[in-house]
């Protein structure tokens, strides 16, 4: 059983210290806090009789398969965990990005793989022909190669891989229905953690990151940097064939539509921007506090599958208050972030808002 001599509140204080005479202590404290969180998470996710299985549950087990241009899944296994890189760049990109995603969830949030219990991570590349897409099918991530004119291969962006894997996390946590506002939240959660995987991998703080989703997917022919911008929804691309990035950045511009499952990839811009506002208000690395609040929210059990933006906002504020205190900088920044996009956190009438 692990015990810590230095109490968590003191580690917290030290982790946020910015004195010029402290160089390694704050990071050491943050490391200690992460270990504490990992142990807590493993305790809560693993049944008591499996304490001895902690090491196995935290293990990473990746398998990459190749569909060889067909639509047959899973495809042929071409790289298993621990094997060296092949000469297929899509396989390498998928393998490495799965590892980066696993690392974010384990090292920062103490979550062992997407289900919290070490679920093996599977991906299939080279799906279909000129397939302009990537998706999560309930069991694995699947990636196309793009058409080579508008889109490159979909493994070329770490944020895409993280986004798809995060759909799996949603499947095991909130189960947000893929329609309307709950669907836009589902999409936003994937963009949030997709961006955090990339930022964590590259060691980028909130004010250094691009906050772009799918940067590197477009060919040079396209006038656009990425598919979505979390910092400025609606500005990611402006191209004569694709059109203009249609994402709204505020509830005033919420898109009512029947296409795209009720606009789940459109209206995700609103909660995306809310997260961005929280992250830059708090500063530092976005995965540490803003990301922690969002992670706490999706694992709280208080987000219903049909949650609206207002309901989700309320859970994030409650999560920030629970971890950092009512009236804390983090709780205030969370509420402000939602206000900034025109979402008023719903009044909480009980443990579960419906």
């Amino acid at each position: 059983m692990t015990r810590f001599i230095v109490p968590p509140y003191l580690l917290d204080h030290l982790a946020q210290a910015e004195s010029p005479r402290l160089s390694r202590a704050p990071e050491a404290a943050r490391h200690g806090l992460r270990q504490l969180d990992e142990v807590r998470a493993l305790r809560s996710s693993a049944p008591p009789t499996r304490q001895g299985a902690v090491a196995r549950e935290a293990a990473l087990e990746r398998t990459i398969a190749d569909a060889r241009g067909t639509e047959e899944l899973p495809g042929e296994t071409v790289r298993s965990e621990g094997e060296p890189p092949t000469d297929d760049v899509a396989v390498t990109e998928a393998y490495d990005a799965l590892g980066a995603t696993h690392a974010l969830f384990l090292e920062v949030y103490g979550r062992s793989s997407i289900d919290g219990e070490g679920l093996p991570l599977d991906a299939t590349v080279h799906y279909g022909l000129d397939y302009d897409n990537a998706f999560w099918n309930g069991e694995r991530m699947v990636f196309g190669d793009g058409d080579g004119e508008v889109f490159r291969r979909f493994t070329a962006s770490v944020s895409v891989v993280g986004h798809e894997l995060a759909h799996g996390v949603t499947q095991y946590t909130t189960g947000l229905e893929y329609q309307g506002q709950s669907g836009a939240l589902n999409e936003s959660v994937s963009d949030v953690f997709g961006a955090l995987v990339e930022q964590h991998l590259l060691g980028q703080a909130a004010d250094e990151a691009s906050w772009l989703i799918g940067e590197g997917l477009f060919t040079d022919e396209v006038q656009g940097r990425a598919l979505r911008s979390m910092a400025a929804p609606g500005t990611a691309y402006d191209d004569d064939v694709l059109g203009t990035d249609p994402q709204p950045a505020h509830m005033d511009d919420y898109v009512e539509t029947t296409t795209d499952s009720g606009g789940v990839h459109l209206n995700s811009g609103i909660p995306n921007r809310a997260f961005h506002l929280v992250a830059v208000a708090l500063g530092g690395n976005a995965w540490e506090r803003a990301g922690q609040v969002w992670y706490d929210a999706i694992t709280s059990g208080d987000v219903s599958p049909t949650a609206t933006f207002a309901e989700f906002a309320a859970v994030t504020v409650a999560s920030a208050e629970a971890r950092y205190g009512a009236g804390s900088e983090e709780a205030r920044a969370t509420a402000e972030g939602w206000r900034g996009v025109g979402v008023a956190a719903a009044a909480r009438t009980g443990r579960r808002s419906s």
Partner: protein, 132 residues
């Protein structure tokens, strides 16, 4: 008689539209037989929600009355897929349109701007090989 195929959703959330006037096609009769034989009233319908970022296909045939079907990508099989592939193939011979969902939220009719220099026709033709 116009048949419109619209592909929405996907990771990119882009909307692409293909359109053909079957009466302007050389084999109009085979088109009408195909369209007539589709199970319009029992089309699969809305997505099952378990597969995120998949495409959603909306097919509209301007028959009398108008017939419409919405299919999640994984259920675009058999005669539905055949119709979509034929529309895309025939449409690429005309002016292709590729439109993002409009900012005002309404359904968007009419072709969007296209870039001949981009050789978008080639994209559609290559797409047909995989019929994605």
């Amino acid at each position: 008689m116009i048949v419109t195929v619209q592909r929405t959703g996907g990771f990119a959330g882009l909307t692409r539209t293909w359109r053909v006037d079957v009466e302007a096609e050389p084999d109009t009769e085979s088109w009408l037989v195909l369209i007539d034989g589709l199970p319009w009233s029992s089309a699969p319908g809305a997505d099952d929600g378990s597969q995120a970022d998949r495409f959603v296909w909306v097919i509209v045939a301007e028959t009398q009355p108008v017939r419409e079907a919405t299919l999640p990508e994984q259920q675009l099989t058999g005669p539905w897929r055949e119709l979509v592939e034929r529309v895309r193939s025939a449409s690429s011979a005309a002016t292709p349109s590729s439109e993002a969902a409009p900012r005002d939220g309404g359904t968007h009719e009419g072709t969007g701007p296209h870039d001949e220099a981009r050789s978008h026709d080639r994209t559609d033709a290559r797409d047909d090989a995989g019929a994605r």
